[in-house]
Amino acid sequence: MSETREVAVVGGGLTKFGVRPLTWAELAQEAGEVLFRAVPALEASAVDSLFVGAAEPERFAFQSHVAPLVAEEMGLAPSRIVQRNELACASGQSAIRSAYAAIRAGLSDVAVAVGVEKMNIPSMAEANSAMACVLDRPWDAAHGLTAPPFFAMVAQRHMLEHGTTEEELAAVSEKNHRFANANPIAQFYEKKFDREKLLRLPLVAPPLRLGDCSAMTDGAGAVVLAAEDRVRDYTDTPAWIRGTGQYADFHNLANMESLTDWTGLTRASREAFRTAGIGPSDLDFAELHDCFTISELIEYEAIGLCPKGDGGSFVADGRSDLGGDLVVNPRGGLLGCGHPLGATGIAQAVEVSQQFAHQVESSRQVPDPEWAMVHNLSGSANVHSVMIYQRGS
């Protein structure tokens, strides 16, 4: 059996996230612009494989077969593997995982993982239909299930079972918006949200208010992954992928065992920690999937940062902030940066790479980080995808 190779993210770039006056294909072109600017040593001819994270181009842009489209828009001609990765909200991480697996297995040496999503279209009812179809369309979504009422029910049960409060939910949003406030690519860059303002925003799905929900966002990004013998061609501060874990345990809501105890994430993160050979206390920061405020609270618990039920006080006491036990979402999270489904996982990896290289704004720079976790959930938290990175020196 041949030896597996180590793999690192060696750099990447992001477009501006927000409500953008441009098409899906134009976003893909911008991904090329930012990638080649961020990784100056990258030559298109060196990229042997391309993985495109895109959740719903069929409905948002009425376009299928987007991997060759992205290759053309970015001027790439992959000779080994070219594919699209669809895993709803985790499509970007899915692209990175496939690139990682391909390089690790020796099938690729230099791969690009791209994420593109264009969600703001003339009919937002159409966009909401696309989002609803991430869930069990005929048996759940047709009855009115979309993401906000789902996560609202999760929040309601967490409040009932553990005494979590609206103020604690708002504390997640306040923290992540504060980081996004300093992140120029963020949808809510320079937009200020304090807890009082967040608690006055309109309800979307009670008990969740507008500030508890990540936005519909247009955005794209790309990262380069390289095999260990090619890493130094591109960077002095590689982000080595040391551990991964993923778990899928149901689809229809009837088959979700507990709304508030995300055992799938516990399993996925344990597997990621096991393969990385570290534990939660070794992490220096984490990019957790805060599609809704309640998600981040439950993620603290499922990963083991705090006991079950204590997620609310964990954030309210500042333990997930800079200077706390473990800073979570110094990028600004999905709440502050926006959530262009396919691009979110790419944006988290770019954040890890830039944090390791001390390239982010000083107000959100984690002091000398070595270990980082990235997590995405997708759908109704029925899939959890976790990766652990270590800074190379």
Partner: protein, 179 residues
């Protein structure tokens, strides 16, 4: 009439377009500015297809039309399956039977969509929805909650299954709060 016969009849009644026929070149008249807003294309339908030509689960919808709420149970391992299936995901056999489900239950969790609805639901807000624990059953099903304002709704309220018929004749169900 068989499905094939139906297709044949539709084909026969459809006016044939001559190959190579030249269509008129006059530009289309723009809609009058005071007219109703143009509808965007309806790409997909959230509701399931129900006829025997489309799904092997058509007995579910036929039963619902008759007022019965059913699902499939595996004859081999006894597992009650939701949604109804054609193959048991536990033992991977097709030895399933249709069984009646309880028609009453209680609200386990609920919310209401106040904004951001998908196509077909956008003029129907707020939409109260919830998870319902069916009485005497291991199933906890998602559905719309009828007969209650979201501000009045409470966990534990009793509900009953309400079979409904959509405007196009398809069967549908919701839960009606009975207190």
């Amino acid at each position: 009439m068989s499905a094939l016969a139906e297709v044949a009849e539709r084909k026969a009644s459809k006016p044939r377009k001559r190959r190579g026929a030249v269509t008129a070149t006059t530009p289309a008249t723009p809609p009058p500015p005071s007219g109703p807003p143009e509808r965007l294309p309806y790409l997909l339908d959230l509701y399931p297809l129900e006829s025997p030509t489309q799904t092997r689960l058509s007995p579910f919808f036929e039963a619902l039309h008759q007022g019965r709420f059913t699902t499939t149970r595996c004859r081999k391992d006894g597992k009650l399956l939701w949604p109804p299936r054609v193959v048991c995901p536990v033992c991977h056999t097709a030895e399933l039977e249709w069984v009646d489900l309880p028609s009453t239950g209680r609200v386990y969790a609920f919310s209401a969509l106040l904004a951001g609805a998908p196509i077909g639901q956008e003029t129907d807000l707020p939409r109260v929805v919830g998870l319902v624990e069916l009485d005497g059953s291991p199933l906890r099903l998602f559905g719309r909650l009828l007969g209650i304002d979201w501000r009045e709704c409470r966990i534990g309220l009793p509900v009953r299954v309400e079979p409904l018929t959509l405007a196009d004749g398809r069967a549908y169900y919701a839960f009606r709060v009975t207190q």
